[in-house]
């Protein structure tokens, strides 16, 4: 790997991870602000991330194993925000229903005591 190629690969790897982060943040923001611009920006960020991943795969002198890792990571990065979100929602919903159940049992106990 030449010096210039190493620098370019390093920069591309940084950009790759940064765009994955921007995709995650925008995707999460889009869940709260249902304006199309945020959702589209998230899609654009992931599109750019894919473009950078393709550039790394097709253009840098990394070995094939590392290129497979880049593709695999890109798929994970795509799935991670929705998966995390769903898990977060489920934990919060469970907690809320538990809380509701506890308070209704509490009111039932109060009524019974009265």
């Amino acid at each position: 790997m030449s010096g210039l190629a190493s620098l370019e690969t390093g920069l591309l790897l940084g950009l790759y991870a940064l765009l994955a982060g921007i995709w995650g943040v925008l995707w999460a923001l889009a869940q709260f602000r249902r304006t199309p611009i945020v959702g589209r920006s998230a899609a654009a960020a992931y599109g750019l991330h894919t473009l950078v991943a393709l550039t790394i795969v097709l253009w840098t002198p990394l070995g094939s194993g590392w290129k497979c890792l880049i593709i695999g990571s890109s798929l994970f990065f795509f799935a991670l925000p929705p998966l995390t979100w769903r898990l977060l929602q489920r934990t919060h919903d469970n907690e809320r229903s538990e809380h509701d159940r506890e308070s209704s049992q509490h009111s039932r106990r109060l009524v019974a005591r009265l």
Binding site: S2, L7, G10, W27, L62, G65, S73, L80, E95, E98
Partner: protein, 464 residues
């Protein structure tokens, strides 16, 4: 207030004071690159750098201990066990840090013998403290572990967070013991030394800050324990899953077998994944709370922690983690850039967040807000991001001119150091370090004057 919480305030105050000393010596170290004759014959660059890095480790450690001493009694519903010993050891700790710093600055170095190793400098990067002080740190950490575990035993209860914390304290102490052996084979020495440095920073400290942030989240946003603990388990599993074998990225060029290139590269390439999960979690929490909180600085510093961790450790680390790039990038300012950003994001922001939580409680403030914290937040983050950007530019020059083109010869090193981009990067780093220092001054000013401006809980209650 529990005695443990009074001790926490002392620890956090000492931590912030050491944060200032770290910043000062960082500023001095940065200036050597512009004027290598600076303090010639008085204070060499190597000593300024030692003080800068060692105060970084100690201020964060004190910040973590302060945070735990703050949350522990509330969590377990009783005073911390062995609090008297902890109180005494706090003063011993401060005195030892002062003595070590004075020895570093005045004595600086000794002969290559046992006396120098015991009294002046152990000579191992990041854990340079002389052996007597290193032994003292072990004693302090053992007492700290006793404080946590003993409190849980005395209270006859534990929580998920405290259990994780108790388990974490064991490797935290055991790994520090690696600071002691003086191994003459450099490869073997570095092999074990990285266990201490990497597994402290990217494993045990990550778990520790995870526990602290979990406790802080419950206090700051009132998030339920079940949610916080579920996420603590998931995040700890992911961070440890990628972080432990990510140790391999330090084994690329120290004489270890080739398989470490694959192991280190693979596991450290996975490290950004859990960090992205944390960022999504932070956005969820911020959105669920509609950015409303009674302690805005603590909330914003907590958000900065999640984002800074992802960018500093995840993005900056990912640039240099594959062996092909690391071959050229390791040991350059590129790595320094990553180190600064990662420590800031992963740990410093978290400790500052807890500091504001503690200030709110100790001064009985209903709301914490105002212009000062915003100035310090902006200056510290802008200064830090700017510094890391400038270091990145200088690091590129080193990787390219010195390593890739020049082949790491002495001439190539000089060419790299004299390159205009490298020099400009260093100038920019120094200027932005001044901005960072300004942010620190405002942070201290805000911390000292906070109660004078904000309304107390009693005032708000009376008004209502």
């Amino acid at each position: 207030m529990y005695r443990s919480q009074t001790l926490a305030v002392k620890y956090l105050s000492a931590a912030i004071a050491l944060f200032g000393i770290m910043t000062l010596f960082g500023l001095i170290s940065a200036y050597y690159y512009l004027n290598p004759d600076f303090l010639f014959g008085i204070l060499p660059f190597s000593i300024a750098k030692i003080v800068h890095i060692n105060t970084l480790v100690i201020w964060l450690l004190m910040g973590f201990m302060g945070s735990i001493y703050w949350f522990l009694p509330g969590e377990l519903g009783r005073e911390t066990a062995g609090i008297r010993a902890a109180e005494v050891l706090f003063y011993v700790f401060c005195a030892a840090v002062a003595v070590v710093a004075v020895v570093f600055i005045i004595v600086q170095y000794g002969s290559s013998n046992e006396v120098a190793l015991w009294l002046i400098n152990q000579g191992r990067k990041y854990v340079e403290a002389p052996r007597w002080a290193a032994l003292g740190i072990v004693v302090i950490m053992v007492v700290f572990a006793y404080n946590v575990i003993g409190t849980a035993i005395a209270a006859r209860k534990t929580t998920g967070i405290i259990t994780v914390l108790m388990i974490d304290l064991i490797p935290l102490i055991l790994l520090y013991l690696i600071a002691f052996p003086a191994i003459s084979n450099m490869s073997a020495d570095l092999f074990w030394w990285w266990w201490l440095v990497h597994l402290w920073v990217e494993a045990t400290w990550e778990v520790l800050i995870g526990c602290i942030m979990a406790l802080a989240l419950m206090q700051l946003l009132g998030t339920s324990r079940r949610i916080v603990e579920t996420w603590l388990y998931i995040e700890v599993a992911l961070v440890l899953g990628t972080g432990i074998l990510g140790l391999g990225h330090h084994y690329f060029w120290i004489g270890t077998p080739n398989y470490w290139l694959t192991i280190g590269g693979f596991f450290s390439a996975l490290e950004p994944l859990p960090l992205l999960g944390m960022v999504v979690h932070a956005v969820y929490d911020a959105g669920a709370q509609h950015m409303k909180t009674t302690n805005r600085p603590a909330f914003y510093w907590m958000m900065a922690e999640a984002f800074g961790n992802f960018i500093g450790a995840g993005v900056w680390g990912f640039m240099i983690t594959l062996p092909q790039v690391n071959l050229y990038a390791h040991g350059t300012q590129w790595t320094v850039s990553h180190g600064h950003f990662a420590f800031w994001g992963a740990y410093s922001c978290g400790v500052i967040s807890v500091l504001y939580l503690v200030l709110q409680k100790t001064r009985n403030l209903a709301f914490v807000d105002g212009p000062l914290w915003k100035w310090s937040f902006a200056a510290l983050n802008l200064g830090l991001v700017g510094m890391t950007g400038a270091l990145l530019v200088s690091g590129f020059v080193q990787a390219f001119v010195e390593r890739a083109i020049g082949g790491s010869t002495l001439n190539a090193f000089i060419s790299g150091q004299e390159n205009a981009w490298f020099v400009d990067g260093m100038v920019a780093r120094f200027l932005l370090a001044i901005v960072f220092t300004g942010g620190y001054v405002v942070l201290v000013w805000d911390a000292l004057s906070l109660g004078r401006r904000a309304p107390t809980v009693a005032t708000v209650a009376a008004a209502q």
